[in-house]
C-alpha cells in the first residue's frame, strides 16, 4: 500500500532559525496536504498542494510539491515560539480516492 515517510522525526531550533520538514511517498500522489498539531490538540489543516512543482506560501511558511508528485516540503522562516507542534504531511493517491495517508510527523521545538 501507499507509504508516506517524513523526516526528521524531531527538530530543535533556536527562535529565529529556519526549519524544514520533508515528506516522501512510495507512490505518485494526486495531492498532498499539510497539518499542524499543537501539544494536546488535534491536527489542523494548513494547506493542500495539487499541481506538479507547486509552491505556496503562507506568511513565513513555504510549501512545495515535487515535480514527480512524490515528495513535498514545508519550510518555516525565522521560527517563533508559536510554531511549536507536530507537522504532518498527508498524501492522497493511488487507486483509493479520498483516502489520506499521513507521515510520521516532525515534532518542532523552538527555544526562546
Amino acid at each position: 500500500g501507499q507509504q508516506v515517510m517524513q523526516i526528521p522525526q524531531y527538530q530543535h531550533v533556536q527562535e529565529g532559525e529556519d526549519f524544514t520538514t520533508y515528506c516522501n511517498s512510495s507512490t505518485t500522489l494526486s495531492n498532498i496536504q499539510w497539518y499542524k498539531q499543537r501539544p494536546g490538540g488535534h491536527p489542523v489543516f494548513l494547506i493542500q498542494l495539487v499541481k506538479s512543482g507547486e509552491v505556496k506560501k503562507q506568511k513565513r511558511l513555504t510549501f512545495q510539491f515535487g515535480e514527480a508528485k512524490k515528495n513535498s516540503s514545508l519550510h518555516i522562516t525565522a521560527t517563533q515560539t508559536t510554531d511549536v507542534g507536530t507537522y504532518f504531511c498527508a498524501g492522497e493517491g493511488g487507486t483509493s480516492y479520498g483516502k489520506l495517508t499521513f507521515g510520521q510527523g516532525t515534532i518542532l521545538t523552538v527555544h526562546p
Partner: protein, 115 residues
C-alpha cells in the same frame, strides 16, 4: 463551523471487552476516517469510508471493524479489546470534489486505555 464530534474524550476498558467509538460530523462529508496516534508513529489509518455502508481497510485494520449506516456517523469497533490497542483514536471527515478530497477536519480524539 465544521464539527467532528467523538463520543468520549477518555475511556478505560478491560481486556476482552467490545468497545465502540462513535464519531459524528455535521458537514455532510462523504469521507470519514479513523486513525490511531502513537508516539513516534504518527497517524496510522485504521479504516476509511467514502460513502454510506462503504469502507476500505487502512494500514492497521487488524482487531478493528467499522460501521457507517448513516452519512454523518462512523463507528469504530474493537471486537475484543487488548492492551496493545491502548492509544489515542482520532476521527476525521472530508469532502470529495469528484477528483480529490478536501481538507480533513478532526475530532478532539478519544484516549482509550485497555487494562
Amino acid at each position: 463551523d465544521v464539527k467532528v464530534t467523538q463520543s468520549s474524550r477518555y475511556l478505560v476498558k478491560r481486556t476482552g471487552e467490545k468497545v465502540f467509538l462513535e464519531c459524528v460530523q455535521d458537514m455532510d462529508h462523504e469521507n470519514m476516517f479513523w486513525y490511531r496516534q502513537d508516539p513516534g508513529l504518527g497517524l496510522r489509518l485504521i479504516y476509511f469510508s467514502y460513502d454510506v455502508k462503504m469502507k476500505e481497510k487502512g494500514d492497521i485494520p487488524e482487531g478493528y471493524s467499522v460501521s457507517r449506516e448513516k452519512k454523518e456517523r462512523f463507528s469504530l469497533i474493537l471486537e475484543s479489546a487488548s492492551t496493545n490497542q491502548t492509544s489515542m483514536y482520532l476521527c476525521a471527515s472530508s469532502s470529495w470534489t469528484g477528483w480529490l478530497g478536501t481538507e480533513a477536519f478532526f475530532g478532539q480524539g478519544t484516549r482509550l486505555t485497555v487494562v
